[in-house]
């Protein structure tokens, strides 16, 4: 065996994440490692907390980066809030609602499922019905931006219903944070988790989470210990709490946190609302091009996520072959469908640093070239102009 250094190909990442990472972020990641208890590192972590509060639009004290990917963030929220025997209402309209169900069951709690079709938003009326039928439900869990379909759900409306029934609101914001409107305090979100590799333009591996005071009271008042020592926020608060001693809990992923810090500094420089607007503007340009080509969207306009565009594969086209050619000929990655949508759709991400004009042009021109050669029933020669018209604000 003789294995040498790995030099990755240079890709343009327009799948469901990871998205393109800005060189400022990878540059920050490569800075010299220091100790996780070094005063300089502790100071940086205080800044990460402030920046995450900014990105989440929250004053929550317990706003921290979990030292693992988004699915560990999901487990952090459920495992800390649920005890064995609890009931949780779980809304499912895609893959990630299904993962929530799995996690609830593994907490020894009972999931009450509220199901909607893939590609549709969660129906608040069904949530209300479920709460009426289960007045002892401890929380309602909903995916804000379903990465598997590209559909947004009305978290604020669902939150109001949950609170009217004395239930907590738990939200998956993996794909929404930094990319579309999200207001943790205003919307009454009690627990939320996200990922770094989507609209924050950062590398994958860290999960920002935040808990409201109401949620913290539930966590500190638990009768049983949290199942995971690693994810127990009662222990993590020894490091992060307002009067904490910065006690050692686990060794933080120092360089990954440099990267997150830098990506959040960039978000602050751009301005959160400006970032939301950029994602929307670029979505409209991509959409204009795709529709000019004759492709259609899976999700209806009102619930479409600007950062994740699910597009129906034209009839008779082998969608995997298209993705393989885009990757090998143009170094362009777009995403496949998942679960119920596997084989039927492409998921085109315009997230974070990937959400820019040059990516839209690359995607439209290479997709047109490949689909054209494969004999797909598309309109050629019109997509770029349509996108450009939109980008110019015509």
């Amino acid at each position: 065996m003789s294995i040498t250094s790995f030099n990755p190909p240079v890709r343009t990442l327009m799948g469901p994440g990871p998205s393109d990472v800005h060189p400022r972020v990878t540059g920050a990641m490569a800075r010299p490692c220091i100790g996780h208890l070094d005063p300089a590192f502790v100071g940086m972590m205080d800044e990460v907390k402030l920046l995450l509060q900014y990105a989440f639009k929250t004053q929550n004290q317990l706003t921290i980066p979990v030292s693992a990917p988004g699915s560990a963030g999901m487990e952090t929220t459920f495992q800390n809030l649920l005890e064995r025997g609890d009931k949780a209402i779980v809304c499912q309209n895609g893959v990630f609602g299904g993962r929530m169900k799995e996690v609830v069951e593994r907490c020894g709690a009972t999931p009450i499922m509220v199901e909607d079709d893939w590609g549709k938003p969660v129906d608040p009326q069904k949530v209300e019905d479920a709460l009426k039928a289960n007045p002892d439900a401890k929380l309602v869990a909903v995916v804000h931006a379903e990465t598997s379909t590209g559909a947004r759900s009305d978290v604020a409306a669902i939150g109001a219903i949950a609170h009217a029934h004395d239930a907590l609101l738990l939200v998956d914001a993996v794909t929404s944070l930094g990319g579309s409107e999200l207001r943790v305090d205003e919307w009454g979100i009690d627990a939320i988790y996200s990922g770094t590799q989507k609209c924050l333009s950062c590398t994958p591996g860290i999960s920002p989470v935040s808990f409201s005071e109401r949620a913290v009271a539930v966590i500190t008042g638990r009768k049983s210990k949290v199942q995971s020592w690693f994810l127990d926020t009662n222990l993590v608060m020894g490091y992060w709490g307002p009067n904490a001693k910065r006690a050692y809990h686990h060794t933080a992923p120092v360089n990954a946190l440099y990267a997150l810090h830098e990506s959040l500094v960039m978000l602050q420089e751009e301005g959160l609302e400006n970032a939301w607007q950029r994602h929307l503007d670029n979505h409209l340009a991509l959409r204009a091009g795709l529709e000019a080509m004759g492709l259609s969207f899976v999700v209806e306009e009102a619930w479409r996520l600007p950062q994740l565009n699910s597009v129906t594969v034209p009839e008779g086209i082998d969608e995997a072959a298209v993705r393989a050619r885009l990757l090998s000929e143009f170094n362009l990655e777009i995403g496949a469908g998942l679960g119920a949508l596997a084989g039927k759709v492409w998921r085109i991400g315009l997230m974070g640093h990937s959400s820019r004009a040059e990516n839209i042009f690359l995607c439209l021109s290479s997709l047109e070239a490949v689909l054209g050669e494969m004999g797909a029933p598309i309109e050629t020669g019109v997509a770029l102009a349509a996108a450009q018209a939109r980008l110019s604000g015509d």
Copy 2:
């Protein structure tokens, strides 16, 4: 709020980890991010698996990097092997045996504790007694290299006893992997976890783990699901198994895995046994200098870890003040004592890229300077020559 880019101070890391990260590793980490399902990334992950098998000296198929720090690796091994109601023998001779106890309890299992003094190795006779008293114990868990004290334990001997009683052997190798003799297959280790930020010279954040075939049979034969969806190796095997479809489980921390790959390539270039020998040689040089100065070691020679040197603080000296001065005046980090040894010892790491002559000289000279100014009862002017004599092989 206006927060700017973070530029860390440049430290020399001689605490209990993270250790100095080689620039080749941070350089690899800064390479462009690609998708976690990209064929190029999947190929790199195959190499990571081969390289981890090399570092662990194992043929275990289920040898993988867990996408989170060492404490998540610990939970991965316990949560996959234990079910509610199981019994586990847990050896404790420092902080990390105590953490194992916590994790076992949170699995709903019962820990049977085998305790030894901090700084001493685990006594195999006590393990045998515990197994005789608890013939239904499912596993024996032991820390190979106690990072909190610097003591090594005889994992091979404990493994033989465990197997004679039909129990699995679970080992914490966070501080030993790559730094001192460790033979997973030869020693009969059934489950093992480590960290990247110690003797592998990599950044913190990933935990290499490995399971024997016997352990995999226990995992696949479970009656209940693993508590954590994120850490469930039954699911992870869909990505890593020999005939796996590379199914999406979670988004891998791509750039952190570039770094691990590079650090393992460097280990292979040096040669594993050569790396063990380097850690030993440098330990002997540091020891010669410290002893010439009049400082003494906590752990007796036979059980001393070369990569983690626990040294008794001279009487009348404020150990925290010494560390603060080393950090502020010389950018040198050494570690404090933990738990029962807090305030009484320093932990000086010579791990991975930190294990080199220039670090030994910096440590001895700056410690001598600071202790001298603080009026400690030490011998001055002799440490460097003693270390140098040892380095020259005299």
